[in-house]
């Protein structure tokens, strides 16, 4: 597809309201319908159906998720289980059942959290007592009320301690002892009794939790240990008992939980229609975008599954809808890695030139020209194939880049840097560097001209006539560039600057200046300045971009030079050293130069190509799907 999203159609399905859930399920199963939530039918069908349905579904999911978090995951759904349409009364029943189920289990959840906190407190207490036992401090004295001294024992989150220490120091308080493990620190804070309110406020802000020391700590350590152990045992027993209750509950209600999940998942497509479905009384309609190739399937599916009459209307997108049409970006096979690289930059607008194919061809071409070598290309292909499981779609990129390198290797007559094994079909780069640079420049001119032509088409498609004519990369700047280039070529060949080129140059320059002048509303002086600078930038941009393509030739020469360096080094060694150097040298060339060339090619594509003609701000096509979608819980 050259123009993005050209086969997209806007459809409206008019049907009876009770068939909406079934129709949405069918569309989701086909995964070819992206809902359109504009209120196009608001006048005739003012209601958005399923609002209460939607909030019930979400509440039901909320309870379901909390139950699963408490009781453990359920087994996966059998994929062969037929999907059922969830009726309103069934939803109410499921929602009520889940709410009741959560009501039964929530006290256990709360109790488990309380037990967890008590365990944590017990742990902190035990560790604190160990700390203080080592320090031989009389804690009952610390705990007691003093006239002037204010002592606090407790714990704070680890990350709060340094700040707390600094701030308390400013108000003449001290942190006397710090010990801890994990995320919590146990501390003793001391200060003046009269500053108690200051201490209270800072400790609260630092999430300080006071520890209550048992009275038996000082007089009977054995009794204390027994007391703490008894508390721990009691908590463990409570915990086991609660877990047992929950397990019993789950055994009794597993089937009902599975049914609830199945029904709620089946209702998701209907829920996710949102404003794309509208209704009035028993009548309803839903609207969205589908690829034209799916129209037949959708109609047949609706005919088969809906019991009541329906009407399917399809039309091409209108010109005022262009910015709204979602564009399918998924490419399969050879083009998939290139589509992914294009998406790194952006998604094409509807009707915009989809650069994927051009990108794939020019990427492979430029990579091959810069890295032309039959042997090295073959290694890249083999590497791609060996690592295909890890590389997945990018295997194709390796294969295509390697094949292109092999093709250019054949044209250059180069195998692993050796240039005398086969005759070049075209030219050995080092034999005529100037010619190579000229070819690269010509390629750059062709690339930029094509890019500008696409930019002009894209701007015309999106209704930006002024940009297509006068903007950077527009028609007049392209003519100016080509006239300048033609004149320079003539000059370089020893001829005069042609009159036609001079006239075209002057006329387009004046037009561009006039346009820049009119577009600016700045004060007089600034207007002159910006007009001149902007016009200069348009011209300069073309010249700089053209020269940027010289790197294509430079890297082809670099490849030969690096190979020569490897051979020179290898030839200075004995037989074993020679072969080791050759192997390592070639590996070095393949890895290092391969990466650099790939980056340079991407750079040329992105900055000399995409930034010139590609808007990349389109909407990706995200069809309605069966099952719990990401769209519903993520706001």
């Amino acid at each position: 597809m050259i123009l993005a999203g050209q086969d997209m159609r806007h459809i409206t399905i008019k049907l009876m309201r009770e068939d909406l859930p079934r129709a949405s399920l069918l569309l989701a199963e086909l995964a070819a319908f992206a809902p359109d939530e504009r209120p196009l039918l608001e006048a005739e069908l003012p209601e958005i159906p399923g609002t209460s349905f939607r909030s019930r579904i979400r509440r039901a999911w909320g309870h379901f998720d909390r139950l699963v978090a408490l009781l453990g995951e359920l087994p996966a759904q059998d994929p062969d289980t037929p999907l059922l349409v969830l009726r309103r009364e069934q939803l109410i029943e499921i929602d009520q059942w889940l709410a009741e189920a959560w009501k039964q289990c929530a006290p256990c959840d709360e109790a488990l959290h309380r037990i967890e906190e008590e365990f944590s407190e017990l742990h902190n207490l035990e560790r604190s007592l160990e700390d203080f036992a080592d320090l031989d401090i009389d804690l009952s004295r610390l705990q007691a009320q003093h006239t002037h001294l204010d002592m606090r024992i407790g714990s704070v989150p680890l990350e709060n301690e340094p700040r707390l220490r600094d701030i308390l120091a400013l108000s003449n308080h001290l942190i006397l002892n710090v010990a801890g493990d994990g995320d919590t620190l146990r501390i003793v804070v001391a200060g003046r009794r009269e500053d108690a309110s200051i201490l209270d406020s800072v400790l609260h802000a630092a999430a300080f939790q006071p520890l209550s020391i048992p009275e038996s700590f000082d007089d009977n350590p054995g009794a204390l240990r027994a007391e703490l152990a008894a508390r721990r045992d009691k908590l463990s027993q409570e915990c086991t008992q609660l877990r047992g209750q929950l397990a019993n509950w789950m055994t009794t209600n597993r089937r009902q939980m599975l049914r609830a999940r199945q029904m709620l998942e089946a209702a998701e497509p209907y829920v996710n229609l949102r404003g794309a479905a509208r209704s009035r009384g028993p009548l309803a309609a839903l609207q969205g975008w589908v690829p034209a190739s799916y129209l037949g399937q959708i109609e047949a599916g609706l005919r088969e599954s809906l019991s009541l009459p329906f009407l399917l209307e399809a039309r091409r997108p209108r010109s005022d809808e262009r910015h709204l049409v979602p564009v399918p970006v998924r490419q399969r096979g050879l083009l998939q890695p290139f589509a992914m690289l294009v998406q790194q930059y952006g998604v094409p607008r509807f009707g915009e030139f989809d650069p994927t194919i051009l990108f794939a061809i020019t990427f492979a071409g430029m990579f091959g020209m810069m890295f032309g070598d039959i042997g090295h290309g073959a290694v890249i292909i083999v590497t791609g194939l060996v690592l295909r499981r890890r590389l997945r779609a990018f295997t194709y990129l390796f294969v295509l880049a390697g094949a292109s390198a092999m093709l250019f290797g054949w044209l250059y007559g180069s195998i692993f840097g050796v240039e005398h094994w086969i005759d070049p079909l075209w030219i050995a780069p080092m034999s005529d560097p100037i010619y190579m640079l000229t070819v690269a420049l010509a390629w750059g001119v062709a690339f930029l001209t094509l890019g500008s032509a696409i930019a002009i088409t894209n701007r015309l498609q999106s209704g930006d006539q002024a940009g297509a004519l006068f903007g950077p990369g527009g028609l007049f700047s392209l003519i100016l560039y080509l006239a300048l280039l033609g004149g320079m070529v003539n000059l370089a060949q020893g001829d005069d600057f042609p009159l036609v080129a001079t006239v075209l140059l002057l006329v387009t320059l004046l037009l561009l200046i006039a346009y820049q002048w009119r577009s600016s509303d700045a004060p007089y002086g600034e207007r002159i300045f910006t007009t001149l600078i902007e016009t200069f930038e348009i011209v300069n941009n073309y010249v700089a971009s053209s020269l940027s393509f010289l790197r294509v030739a430079a890297f082809s020469l670099n490849h030969v030079a690096l190979s020569l360096a490897v051979f020179t080094l290898a030839n200075s060694m004995d037989t074993i050293g020679h072969w080791i150097t050759l192997v390592l040298g070639n590996l070095f060339v393949i890895v290092l130069e391969g990466i650099i060339v790939a980056i340079q090619t991407l750079r040329l594509e992105y900055y000399e190509g995409f930034s010139r003609y590609f808007y990349g701000d389109g909407t990706p096509f995200r069809p309605l799907r069966v099952g719990r979608s990401q769209a519903s819980p993520t706001r």
Binding site: P39, E42, S55, R58, R59, W61, G62, H63, D65, R66, A106, H113, P157, E159, N160, R163, L164, D166, I167, L168, L170, S171, D183, S197, I198, S201, V202, H204, A205, A206, A207, F208, Q209, G275, Q344, Y345, G346, I599, L602, R603, Y606, Y607, S611, G616, D617, S632, P633, T634, R635
Partner: protein, 344 residues
């Protein structure tokens, strides 16, 4: 992509996006327009469904979505500390959502109403609002939050809440963590990126610390030590010792006299907290404008652009909001530029 290529990409994108900025004059012109014309210029007319409140909420979300989309585009070439920095910047919307969720739960609002005040977040932010929304109480909400990357913060908030429920303390803790993480991430950058972004973030922190410290101390009557504890590290001018000096003062006027003269570039510090906030904001935006155009760091320029764009989006929303609600020109002018109004 290499660093040079990233810089080129960011500069290219930024050059294109800069055209989206309206500037003060255009904003002022929009503020003068009647609602119909204003709606046409701002895209508010495209939001048709529902009553005024619903439309305004949808409009605000659409504006923020634009900002987040632009940020997503600028994030594309970035990796490592630079990417983490910008992602953290975007996560302020996660914080706003958490604050809205907490306030909603405290006010026992229905989930649908709480949801209306939440921002839609892009894919690179991972907070699952649905799960947080489907909770019965603040402790349960905070326990759900413990399962996210806000675990430490939620644990702390849970401890604080169990002892004494204080919504503003949670707000302050969230802000503190946000700016601390931001400064921490900026520290990991290198060269110009590091210096320039730390300078910009430092100005943010100064503004936040000054305004909120004054509010906590003189409006809420908190103890100086507590206010100091809640302040954020990493300010450009206002360090802890300066803040302490300021907070020891008995009156707002005395506190302001403790401030260094270079806190504001081209004006005297006003004597009302609202005006102080406006002056600091103005100063920050002037700096951001310069950084966007002239900073040697593309990352810092991007951050400055996002700051400016966010500021304009907020103003745009205020204008539409004021017009829809039928507020007078004077109220709108006061909200948009309180400094000028005070001078007048």
């Amino acid at each position: 992509m290499n660093k040079l290529a990233n810089q080129a990409y960011l500069r290219t994108r930024l050059a294109i996006m800069r055209a989206n900025l309206l500037g003060r004059e255009k904003l002022a012109a929009l503020a003068q327009m009647p609602l119909d014309e204003l709606a046409k210029h701002t895209g508010f007319d495209a939001v048709t469904a529902g009553n005024d409140a619903t439309r305004l909420a949808a409009f605000e979300r659409a504006l923020m979505q634009t900002w987040l989309d632009e940020l997503s585009a600028l994030l594309r070439p970035l990796a490592g500390p630079a990417r983490r920095l910008l992602t953290q910047w975007a996560s302020r919307y996660e914080l706003l959502n958490i604050k809205a969720l907490v306030r909603g739960k405290i006010g026992q609002l229905p989930n649908e109403q709480i949801e209306q005040s939440l921002f839609e977040l892009p894919g690179f932010l991972s907070l699952d609002h649905e799960r947080l929304l489907n909770t019965d109480s603040i402790p349960e909400l905070l326990r759900q939050l413990q399962k996210t990357r806000y675990r430490r913060l939620a644990t702390q908030a849970l401890r604080q809440y169990e002892e004494r429920p204080d919504p503003f303390l949670l707000d302050a803790t969230l802000d503190q963590q946000f700016y601390s993480d931001l400064s921490h991430r900026a520290q990991q950058l290198e060269g110009d990126d590091r210096t320039e972004t730390l300078d910009l973030i430092g100005r943010f922190v100064d503004r936040h610390n000054l305004v909120w410290s004054l509010r906590y101390r003189f409006n809420y009557g908190l103890q100086p030590s507590e206010v100091l504890y809640l302040a954020i590290d990493g300010g450009r001018v206002l360090n802890r010792s300066l803040l302490q000096q300021m907070l020891q003062a008995d009156t707002l006027g005395d506190a302001l006299r403790q401030l260094p003269k270079n806190l504001l570039s081209h004006r005297e510090m006003p004597e009302e907290i609202t005006l102080i906030e406006a002056a600091m904001r103005d100063d920050l935006f002037n700096h951001a404008q310069r950084a966007m155009l002239r900073s040697p760091s593309a990352l810092s320029s991007v951050l400055a652009y996002l700051v400016l764009r966010h500021g304009e989006i907020t103003s745009l929303y205020s204008i539409v909001h004021a017009r829809v609600r039928g507020l007078g020109d004077d109220v709108l002018a006061q909200a948009l530029d309180p400094l000028q109004e005070a001078a007048a």
